[in-house]
Symmetry: C2
DNA sequence: TCTTAATTGCGAATTATTCGCATTTATCTC
DNA sequence: GAGATAAATGCGAATAATTCGCAATTAAGA
């Protein structure tokens, strides 16, 4: 993989982002340096093939977002109401995945990096409404 | 919610499908009865709002697929190589989700119904290649 | 049966993503 | 460091999934 200016810029944006971001969000930041949207999509594909980033697609918005893979395999929790994201610095599924594999022969891989739910604030609001 | 011919047709297609299917796949079956693609999309949206179906989006193909919600909350395992789907008739995540909630205050909801991985056949093939 | 709001069909619009092709650039060899 | 070559990029057009607007139809209830 060639090291190019565009790739560096995109990599840094991903590294500096505290959340999983879309191609368009990357473009908003990178366009001032002349990086094209097609380059961004192509670069993200390359990074994905090189296993450097994780692509997630929200079932709520159908939008793809990307995050740099950290050393330790963790997750991002995203609130489906306020879209706040918080980091979970470990993977809670390792045990369970093993269990499923034993039962079904099916190896769960590459579970979604972004997990959806309600943050405590939005959950409280939700319950008050009822 | 009005009961209409289209909705019945779409509901039955979902009920009879052994896998999570896309709007287009539904259309292929339903078009002989004159059901439009826009009706299918709108109906799926309605069903989703009524909490009757689950929408999933594959991070591999970015395609949305839909499945009727069963009484007991289970999952579908889809192989990322051969796209075979098998049914997991329970949810392996209940314990883990509770654990995450205790640690973070974040309530995991609506985890993906479709889980991705490798079926045993494709996994063996994969390992032979190495 | 009549009324009304919800649903549908149709085609056009939108949006994210991919593609083709000419041009540029990083890397490798000498 | 100069030249050769494949890889990467920019640009705009093409594609594909999904949504929308609006007029016509239909289910449900009075």
């Amino acid at each position: 993989m060639k090291r190019t200016k565009s790739r560096n810029i995109i990599k840094n944006i991903l590294l500096n982002s505290s959340k999983s971001i879309t191609a368009l969000e990357i473009f908003e930041i990178a366009k001032k340096d002349g990086v094209t949207l097609s380059t961004i999509y192509r670069t993200l594909l390359t990074f994905e093939e090189e296993n450097l980033i994780k692509k997630d697609v929200s079932p709520f918005t159908s939008k793809a977002s990307y995050s740099w893979k950290e050393e330790e395999h963790g997750h991002i929790l995203e609130c489906i109401k306020c879209h706040k994201q918080i980091i979970l610095d470990y993977c809670p599924f390792e045990e369970v995945n093993k269990e499923v594999e034993e039962k079904t022969g099916f190896t769960l891989e590459d579970e979604n990096h972004v997990l959806y739910g309600l943050c405590s604030t939005c959950k409280e609001k939700n319950e008050k409404q009822k």
